[in-house]
């Protein structure tokens, strides 16, 4: 007589994954559509000397003085470097020259009241490009 074998009375492991996969794809689609690339922020360091300590007329060390003037719409930037008016590309080449000589020299940036913040930030960015780190920002009394 053949021996009767008892099979274990259990089911193989079953898990219905359909619903989970559905939800996973829903979430994936949602985040792919909803997500937007994040902006990368940067900081541009500068010093703001307090008014009583600022003495522009008698600097203790040789100083590069850049004045940021108000510009008309459409202009790229109007700067005056040590009393010489110049455009952004001219300014950039001069900054490169200064950086090659001594990147630690003080640059005094004087902003006219009617100049835009964009002009200042663009100038600080150009200085950062040539690793000019000793920057002071002051506000011009006139214009």
């Amino acid at each position: 007589m053949a021996r009767k074998r008892y099979k274990a009375d259990h089911h193989p492991g079953e898990l219905n994954l359909t619903a989970m996969i559905d939800v996973a794809f829903q979430l994936l689609s949602f985040f792919l559509l909803a997500i937007k690339p994040v902006d990368v922020f940067a900081n541009l360091d500068a010093f703001r000397p307090s008014p009583e300590k600022t003495n522009v007329s008698t600097p203790s060390a040789p100083m590069i003085k850049i004045m940021v003037l108000p510009m008309n719409p459409g202009e790229s930037g109007v700067y005056v470097l040590n009393d010489t008016p110049m455009t952004t590309p001219q300014m950039e080449s001069r900054l490169k020259k200064y950086a090659d000589t001594d990147p630690t020299q003080t640059i005094l940036i004087m902003c006219a009241k009617r100049s835009t913040h964009k002009q200042l930030v663009e100038l600080l960015d150009k200085c950062a490009k040539y690793k000019l780190t000793n920057l002071s920002v002051v506000s011009s009394a006139g214009i």
Binding site: P37, S115, S139
Partner: protein
């Protein structure tokens, strides 16, 4: 003799998977909310050569200068005189050390310098001389 049946382990994973998805959704939403603390109405100037902001300093004070010249901290409008008082108090809280209070000035690109000057003067009043001007290194969208 009948062989003793081994117990078969089963578990209902549905609840666990539900919770896992809930947690994923919670963290994804929380992270995006954390990134939105900056005021989006301010258009920052593009500065590809600036130092990239990698870590956030918990001490930092972000001053927003809007297109119309209004100042705000944490999206709360503020006058230049009140800003000066707040900065003075903050410096005093850090033992009178102005260098312990990093200032990040987020000015709209079109705002005139005379409006920025108000915020800068408030910093000077509090003895803060180091200013970080916020800019966009890379535009995401």
């Amino acid at each position: 003799m009948r062989k003793q049946e081994e117990p078969y382990l089963t578990g209902n994973l549905t609840a666990m998977i539900d919770v896992v998805f809930q947690l994923i959704i919670f963290f994804v939403c929380a992270i995006s909310m954390q990134n939105n603390t900056n005021d989006d109405s301010i258009t920052l100037t593009l500065a590809p050569n600036g130092t990239e902001v990698k870590a956030k300093d918990p001490r930092e004070v972000k001053i927003d200068v809007h297109k119309d010249g209004t100042l705000s901290i944490a999206q709360q409008p503020i006058s230049p005189s009140l800003l000066g008082s707040i900065l003075k108090k903050t410096v005093a809280d850090y033992g009178g050390n102005p260098d312990a209070v990093p200032i990040i000035l987020r000015g709209d690109e079109s705002v005139l310098h005379e409006k920025i000057q108000g915020a800068l003067d408030a910093c000077s009043e509090a003895g803060i001389v180091k200013i970080k001007f916020a800019a966009l290194k890379e535009k995401g969208s």
